[in-house]
């Protein structure tokens, strides 16, 4: 990709001499250089500074050296930096000066952060780290023992281990989580934050082994709860390079918080089927359905099961993330191929935070028989959640229904998610959730729960006369 990078206007400084050069990015941290005006320098020549002009500003990148690499497009070689090392890619592309070493500026701050952590919690974390490493090396040793076997044999041995020692290991994790909960239950938010930070620093290597934990912590798409994480939750299986990794991956996706996500998928499926049977028994007039923050939209695949189903529904799927819509489309594609039929789906790549601006949304998108949003309100604070909810209500046809999911404050997986997964939600009580309606009149309102009691649903049924 660096081949296409544009030339950068620059000057090298040697003593009081200014040497005009033509440079180009050749990697994140080095530049190719071509001397202008017939200048030539030997391999290893050092310069006191490199001044580059970027978006109208001159920046000195400090002492540097020439490494000759002839024959690259008339360039003399590369310039590498001797003291400060800058991220040149971000400099050129984002106009940001980011020094490679600058993270060290924060060392005192980060080191001091541990002072906020209680002794008892440090002991807990330290014991846990020790224990997990003991387990890890045991499982890793076993993996080595049967590494020479054929794939199918390896797989069945691994399953046998998972079903025996793995079960005991999961029980050990359950116990440690119960202990964590006892310890942090009384913490205020600031204490949770600093203890969680400390916890993840200590357990970082372990966290990175498990694909699910790795992803929730690193958040490659910039936010928690992306469609890939959701797919892992729906799969609820063993992923990872080793037995230990697989066990660490499986444990959180099997926890009640994740079970609640799987349950809500079923709840939505049942509700939509019910509404379909009631409002559209003949299947003649397709039921208009909107999913807000649809993610992989797995429930759509559950709803459209038989050859008659595609004609019964008309879906609109909205998400801020193109990748999520793509994943949803792939899943629906599989259904279409299986049923040899066309499912009516419209994809909207929008954020609910900016969709509110669209005047006359009902005119643009039409009105819906069923509007639902799962895994979105857990991220919206009251002013925004209330605004979004008001807008969604306006999209309902008379007699139409709206269902909003929100994790309840009592989520038993809360500390697991916050401390291990770095996944924080905006939890609500029943009344918090109802309050978001800000007294919208003329509708039947109720709140119900899934089997785990973790997932709470706000159900609004618009009156027929609306």
């Amino acid at each position: 990709m660096y081949e296409q990078s544009p030339p950068i206007d620059a000057q090298l400084v040697a003593g009081d001499q200014l040497i005009p050069v033509d440079t180009r990015l050749t990697s994140r941290y080095s530049l190719m250089v071509r001397f202008l005006n017939g200048n030539g320098f030997k391999d290893g020549a050092e310069f006191t500074d490199l001044l580059i002009r970027n978006q109208g500003k001159e920046i000195g990148l400090g002492p540097c050296r020439l490494i000759c690499e002839p024959n690259i497009d008339g360039y003399a070689g590369r310039i590498v930096f001797l003291k400060e090392v800058y991220d040149l890619k971000r400099l050129v592309e984002e106009n940001k000066v980011v020094r490679l070493q600058s993270s060290f500026l924060n060392v005192p701050l980060v080191l001091a952060h541990k002072k906020r952590v209680k002794r008892e919690f440090k002991n807990y974390t330290s014991d846990l780290t020790y224990d997990l490493n003991v387990y890890k090396s045991l499982f890793d040793k076993l993996d080595e023992e049967y590494a020479e076997e054929a794939q199918s044999i390896r797989d069945s041995i691994q399953m046998a281990i998972i079903n025996t020692e793995g079960v005991r290991f999961h029980r050990f994790l359950d116990d440690r989580l119960a202990e964590l909960e006892r310890m942090v239950k009384g913490f205020n938010r600031a204490e949770h934050e600093s203890h969680g930070f400390y916890f993840r620093r200590q357990l970082w290597e372990i966290i990175l082994t498990a694909p699910f934990m790795r992803r929730t912590n690193l958040k490659p798409r910039g936010y928690a709860g992306d469609s890939e994480m959701m797919s892992m939750i729906y799969e609820n299986g063993y992923r990872g390079k080793s037995t230990f990794a697989k066990l660490m991956h499986k444990h959180p996706v099997g926890h009640p918080g994740a079970q609640a996500v799987r349950n809500r998928r079923k709840v939505i499926r049942e509700m939509i089927r019910g509404v379909g049977d009631q409002r559209n028994p003949s299947g003649a007039d397709p039921l208009k359905i909107l999913s807000v923050a649809c993610g992989p939209a797995c429930e759509v695949q559950d709803i459209v099961q038989t050859a008659q189903d595609p004609g019964k529904y008309d879906f609109t799927l909205l998400d801020q993330d193109r990748n999520a819509l793509q994943e949803a489309a792939n899943g629906i594609d599989r259904v279409q191929r299986r049923l040899d039929g066309q499912v009516k789906v419209k994809y909207l790549n929008e954020s609910v935070r900016t969709m509110l601006k669209t005047p006359n949304l009902p005119g643009k998108w039409g009105r819906f028989d069923f509007v639902y949003s799962m895994g979105l309100f857990d991220y919206l604070t009251p002013p925004v959640a209330a605004g979004v909810l008001g807008k969604l209500l306006k999209l309902l046809r008379p007699g139409g229904e709206l269902v909003i999911g929100n994790f309840h404050v009592s989520n038993v997986s809360r500390y697991y998610m916050e401390y291990w997964l770095d996944w924080v939600l905006y939890y609500r009580t029943e009344s918090d959730l109802k309050e978001l309606l800000r007294g919208a009149p003329g509708d039947d309102v109720s709140v119900f729960f899934d089997e785990t009691g973790v997932q709470m649903f706000l159900h609004v049924k618009r009156h027929e006369s609306h």
Binding site: R99, E193, S194, G222, T354, T381, G387, E418
Partner: protein, 162 residues
């Protein structure tokens, strides 16, 4: 004690200090502790500065709205401004930044990450990108935003008084 306060100002830098002071006395009158008053006035200041910087420019009628609400153990700060074409370009960044900050259980992590970038040598400009991070880290508030039908941007910060 519960209650709310609303202000409207012209998008002028000189107004920021006044808003900060009025917010502080309102919050003090509602019985908030000194630390909370101090950090919440910082939050108000940062949000108002952003509205002035990124909101609709050169329009006499484009006011910045400030609302503070104390109820149910929550303090909600909402700052609104009109949006024009240049501000639109900033909304994607605002969205990304807020989701990024809220992606950390401990906003200290966002702060540390951002400090690396701010440790710049020669390129000082007014977009240091620290304002929202300070709201989360020092202000301990949860950020969010939405744009409404009248092209009004509402950026809010919610603090749980615990």
């Amino acid at each position: 004690m519960e209650g709310s306060m609303k202000l409207e100002i012209k998008p002028l830098w000189d107004e920021v200090e006044r808003v900060r002071e009025e917010s502080a006395s309102f919050l003090t009158s509602k019985g908030l502790e000194k630390d909370a008053v101090f950090s919440l006035s910082m939050v108000v200041g940062e949000l108002v500065e952003n509205s002035i910087k990124y909101g609709k420019q050169g329009d006499e009628k484009a006011l910045v709205g400030i609302s503070l609400d104390v109820s149910g153990g929550l303090v909600t700060v909402e700052v609104t401004n009109l949006v024009d074409d240049t501000a639109y370009a900033h909304l994607a960044r605002l969205d990304r930044t807020i989701q990024w900050i809220r992606g950390f259980q401990d906003p200290f992590e966002a702060y540390v990450e951002r400090m690396k970038e701010v440790a710049r040598r020669q390129m000082e400009d007014k977009e240091s990108g620290l304002g929202l991070v300070r709201i989360a880290y020092e202000g301990r508030a949860i950020l969010d935003f939405f744009l409404d039908e009248s092209e009004i941007l509402n950026v809010s910060a919610v603090l749980n008084l615990e």
